[in-house]
Amino acid sequence: MTVERHPLPRWRYPRNEVLRNQVFASGRPPFAPFPTVTNLINANLCPVALYHDLIHGIENALVRDDLRTVKRRGELFHNFVAYLKLSIKNGDFELRGDIPSQLSSIQNMFLSFSQSQGFQIYESNDIWRLYVRPWVERKLDNGELQSITSDSQIFFEISVANPHVPFPLENGVRNYPLRGRIDEIDLTQRRIIERTIRGGQEDSSLTFLKDYQIWLLWKILCSLRAEHLPNEWGGIRFEDFEMVVETPHQDFVIFDNQDFVNDTHWAYAWINDISISEVPGVFSEVFENAQCAPENPHTECGHPFINCFPRRYPFPRCRPEIRQTFQPWYRLLLWEQMWKGHLWHYQLLMLDRKELLNLGIIVETNVVSVQDNQIELEIMGGEANTLRGYEYCTVIPYGTVFCGLKLDARLVSTRKNNIVLQLSGILPTISQEAILLLSPDIPAPVMKEPPIFLEKQIQSALFRLKHIGAQNEERAQRRSLLQLLESIFGTRALRRGRR
């Protein structure tokens, strides 16, 4: 990142009263956001990409193609790799014969897996050919898949978070909050892996910013104290772990890098300023520091001609009024997300267990059983029946709130003081034996993470509405939506209709 921004003197954490819900949630939050790894990557790409992320709810700056398609395909690739590796580990799938026959049996497994995930056969074949097959071929050729045994310690989709991740600054360190999800942690091979479907066969260089992404995730992991980690991981030195980015065609090993540290301080400064700064002119500075222009668009960024330099229509005429009205709303919607969602993350990680229980942020449970994709949990010290009103929750069957397997679940029923949850995600594909191996003898917290995706959707939809229009008046007159806007924001008369 080339934009000059000074590191913050300190990160603004929520005060104790705020953490304990003793302050009425309203207005500008008295704390900075709890950023995700994606926020930092966007900041690193361009301050305008971060602005679109935080203010307009558009976080996928690095996706240039159809977002939904890319996301679906990426998820399928990730999930299948996890499914394949865990199936080998659990003995549910055996690699037999020579490599071509192993490849063929994995292809059959993939096709049935992808169809179970709702993919049509033609799309499954595409995904196999473009992403999965090249990856599987490489991993069979180098013997990686064959080396997986029942003793292999491999973990997928592990959520990591720490409110105080230290980053060196001059002679000391500056702490910032950060959260993210690691595609794979391989304790046996001592490495963490970030996977992507981007990157072609001919690409000799790494997919843009993937090195920074895995470095950030590694920094979070290294920052966690033993008591924040799953019991069995206490003595592991993650500092010595290898960081690997896997594309379908190549593996890249990433090393610690001072540039990443500098980029991180700058990224946090932008996040702070865009989110809560009271200094006027911050948004202007964002655009002054844009990393590209219409005549010279960024090659990796998906924003330029959709969000940054869109076509300007002369109608509706009231566009300036619309812009003036909408502009403050975006940040208010971000503050709403911060009060609802970011504060919850701070609370979860900064309050002690007893306070979390008292505030109703978590309930503690013991894993009783796992069958297919249902998990039965015994509520410790609480009234299971009061949970019946909830539809969705999050459970951590393995690990802690700092580092663990977080699964979305739906409450199905209660039995005495037990609750039964229907799990979603890749875990349901794993056998019962596997999850019992995963479950350590510590309480599994159940939480209700406040959803903030709707506010993000509203931000992005408002932003899109701002760009609609018509090229000439005659067309504008015919379009009811433009005329509705003219009547609310412009000069056209508005009436309720016949009396």
């Binding site: 939904r68 709403e336 009234e383 029946n385 003219e486 056209r492």
Partner: protein
Amino acid sequence: MNNELQRRLRMLNQEQRESIESILEGWDSPRGEFILPIVEGPPGTGKTTVGVLATARYRKENRKPQVAYLCHTHYAADRALEAFIELGFSPEDVLRVVDRGRYLMYKDSSYSNYYIAYNDVSELTPQQQRRLRSTPILIATLHGSTRVFKFQTRPLILIDEFSQVPPTLFFSTLSKVRQSSYNPSGYTLLGDPNQLPVITTQQFLRPNIGIFIMSRRDYEPHQLNLQYRMHPDICQAVNALREALRTYPLETHQSARNKTLTSLGYSWIRSSCPEEFVDILDPNNPLVIINTDNLKGWEEISLGGSKYFPNEARLAARIAVAFSSTYFDRNGQPLLPTILSPYSAQIGLIRSLLPQNLQGNCITIYQAQGREYPCVIISFARKNPDRRIGFLGEGGVGDVGMRAQTYVACSRAMAKLVVLFSFSTFRGHRDYDYLLERSKNALIIEAEPSWVGEHD
């Protein structure tokens, strides 16, 4: 359906008729004005009826009608679907469009053929896509409206319960119909500004879309103020709460003046009624307010900070059971009272104390919005020495806030309303003071510990 539609249309009052006419007028008036009907209808005044009948007429009078009926919550959208079904609409006329996760809740219901679910258009078969294109009325939430606008190019857009819809959500919904080839044929807002409000931490996002528009423009909405739902005693409590919310009182239509459980066709077997509940269940006491201060214990906290008060839950469950075992309709079927609470945890606990046939009637106030029930029991669940009532209390100046839940809950009842709360906790908060002081005909009684099986 046509006969029923004609009959219902004939029964409308003047303001309801005018509202429907303006919805059907189209957006572009010959005088160059933009027509945007906003219909304000307090509880029981028939705003959903206006929406449904306007839609029915629109369907009848247009060759290829398309109506997008949008609500803020799934509960309200389900209620709208029920209203269409009551009017005789078939699954060829109206469909409720939901995501696949949500569909799991409906797939075993008797109306499952009125539902269609998808997350991505690629999941739909050609036949399903044709069905979505050819069905004139599609119902969805505002957040889920993309699923409707993918198949309707010139819909009449009706937004129900606009009190919960902030301008941000309204305009973001419009952005989903932004493509130039899509041209909605009209827009309508239906709602009660005093019902469940916009939920937000940001004061500037709090005014709903109706207030937002009316504050910008010289605009007078349609106002419905004749209520057909509640017995006058219950309406008195509702008017007390409306006064606390600083709005005009409702008038009761003649048809509701003698609305008791008996007049609705229920017979009461007094001799089967537990002695301590006789006054509470008596059909001649439409409004009963019970002080739960004497019940032992305090409120407790559950996941997400939701509150529950175990002994009040027990009492609510016992009263509900007493209703269902002593009131029977003309076919001998028991009355199933509706139990409401603002807290999910309290709902969960009460459900666990009820027999199977009553559990489905125990819901949060949010789930009850837009509905009416013969008999309602409300449990407010708060009891603490600090007299904290959280979101049930007043917010900022002029702020309806979440306290409107009390108003919404009370106004669901047609003939019998039983309200349980701790006077010592709620006294001093304006809504509850008004409720107690201005409900002149209410029966106010103290709960005894023995009613929940506790003895000194």
